[in-house]
Assembly symmetry: C2
Homo-oligomer: 341 residues x 2
DNA sequence: CTGTTAGCGCCTTCAT
DNA sequence: ATGAAGGCGCTAACAG
């Protein structure tokens, strides 16, 4: 019953080479004759070798990894940073984490182009603009693996994207909104963060699609882009509320929730349904206070873990884990998980 | 910045003993003088030792583990079995999985009492009855670790419970139902599986609590206990629908979903909101078909993984993982994860 | 280009 | 009651 475990050693024996060579082929490392590569690959498939991820994580790794994350007062990324720090102790990677203005395309492109040759991989939240795409392709071309987080650049040759399907996440928000605002007539607004980020745009598109499909009695409007800045978000939402007497729903597709909550605390239509993204002190408090009604969440610990796994994993392999994209979690007041600290 | 990792070796040096002895203390194994135990414990806390779960999983384990799961046509447990099989290849444990009528208290108690002395641990879904409690206490007393899954027996001395908080899960279902049936008047029904299972009872209690709090216009009734049997569930739901013209919501707290779906296919009030538990072919199809509107889910892979971890983990330690109880996941049509196969 | 060696952190024999 | 030695599966230095 217990399926025979195939080890690198077995493959090596069958292929008539050493474990090291198999390892090289497995990880697409240079320095193996094409002929040998084929022999190893043949053995690999004929035996049905499957790597043991656990063993890989405990084995001494090495190399430098650069992590470039947005820096401006953003609780979600603060959390992500903490998760990376947690994972750091497990790997022996030389992790260099930098917070920067990753929402500015030229800055991000410059940062990417400046990454050391020593670097084995770069992990970042990618803006989907030409210069960033170019920088990513350049890195991959020279052998530095690029892993995108949360927001993807599908066109670029990045080795992996870690995050959930933002379009589906938007649809999820839309479906919840459709239920929350059922039998109502009025206006639903969407507030995004950045227009150069695929994730916010995709979320908005998915949201709109569902509302359009299912809620003929709702009018959908744009509340603008708050650039994830609480102050700007507060202004935008305050204006929105003032100008939209029949507002029944608000979807906050980006960050800046603190500002949204502040604006709503001053003036909010009774019965307004609010849906946001990511669990932070702010969204958590908003859920508990009944100000937000649902939050769409992706697990930051899982993001950090999979991102580092992707750094180690050979590019020949498939998606970033058990099931590819991350789960789209729906969190309401009732199933709020305990706080991290 | 990188916190110094404390290894067993470090603890051993400080305590003036060998790694083996530290390991014995760590895992509450016999054969260490009380005096020595204290010395090791002192070193343990003063250094702030934290075990490396990864290394533990790769290290050669051993011993026999009995797994007793309900057998009667239950897709959720079929899934769980598959996950245990997946995990089996990672550990070197001698896993003996038996499907049985775990919903019958005498049978379960007998099975528990019959577990081999060789067995290092027993993993099971516990009925909360006196004979089962007694059997569990007896096992723990003789040193066989008992881990309860999905449904707990808080009174018994089991080493760990792996699953989510069923009361909170029920509240979650209740909150969703409150939204779905917002502004409606009518009847909401609850269908449970077994009355001897804590999980179903707790879910029902949580559900009722929220409906009572938030929906003064809804009447709540019991649809009965289907013993997780699809046929019985079908009959109960058909009767329910026939006798309750103003039915607006149905909460299926147990299994037997196939029967529920069948009954609703024949006759269902328009706009009926249905909430069930666990992702299986049946609930998945029901969500896609718009028959069910939400499903409350706990991750089976996570259950299997944590249960086996609990087998290995010393009893001195805390909860069963990163965060204790499992996450209560809300799944709707829009965030349905890809099927396992 | 390829093989040998050593080691990650823990657990388990086996010996003492 | 304790210690020493070996191995889990993989990766990475260092040789050849």
């Amino acid at each position: 019953m217990a399926k025979q475990k195939i080890l690198i050693e077995d493959v090596a024996r069958v292929a008539g080479v050493s474990k090291s060579t198999v390892d090289r082929v497995l990880n697409a490392r240079p320095g193996v004759r094409a002929n040998t590569v084929e022999r190893v690959n043949a053995a690999l498939v004929s035996l049905g070798y499957a790597p043991n991820a656990l063993a890989r994580r405990i084995a001494p790794s090495s190399g430098r990894v650069d992590i470039l994350l947005p820096g401006n007062e953003n609780l979600f990324f603060d959390d992500l940073v903490a998760r990376f720090a947690e994972e750091e102790s497990r790997h022996d990677l030389d992790m260099r984490l930098v917070r920067m203005n990753a929402f500015d395309a030229p800055s991000l492109a410059a940062a990417l182009n400046g990454v050391s040759e020593q670097s084995r991989a770069v992990i970042t939240v990618a803006l989907d603009t030409p210069e960033v795409r170019d920088a990513i392709d350049r890195l991959e071309a020279r052998g530095t693996r690029v892993i995108t987080l949360v927001s993807d650049v599908p066109q670029a040759r990045r080795s992996a994207y870690i995050g959930f399907d933002n379009f589906a996440a938007g649809r999820t928000a839309g479906a919840l909104m459709a239920q929350f605002a059922a039998q109502k007539t009025g206006t639903v607004a969407v507030l995004v963060g950045h227009l150069s980020l695929r994730d916010h745009l995709d979320r908005r598109s998915g949201f709109e699609q569902v509302i359009d499909e299912r809620c003929p009695d709702l009018r959908l409007i744009q509340a603008g882009a708050c650039r994830d800045l609480p102050d700007l978000a507060q202004t935008l939402v305050a204006d929105l509320v003032a100008e939209t007497p029949d507002l029944v729903g608000l979807y906050v597709a980006g960050a800046g929730n603190r500002g949204v909550v502040a604006a709503l605390a001053k003036a909010a239509p009774p019965g307004l349904a609010v849906i946001g993204h990511e669990l932070t002190e702010v969204t958590r408090a908003a859920l508990l206070a009944g100000r937000y009604h649902a939050v769409i969440v992706q697990d930051t610990r899982e993001i950090a873990r999979r991102a580092l796994e992707a750094v180690l994993r050979p590019e020949t392999e498939e998606g970033p884990g058990p099931d590819g994209l991350l789960a789209i979690q729906i969190v309401i007041k009732e199933n709020l998980p305990p706080a991290h600290f």
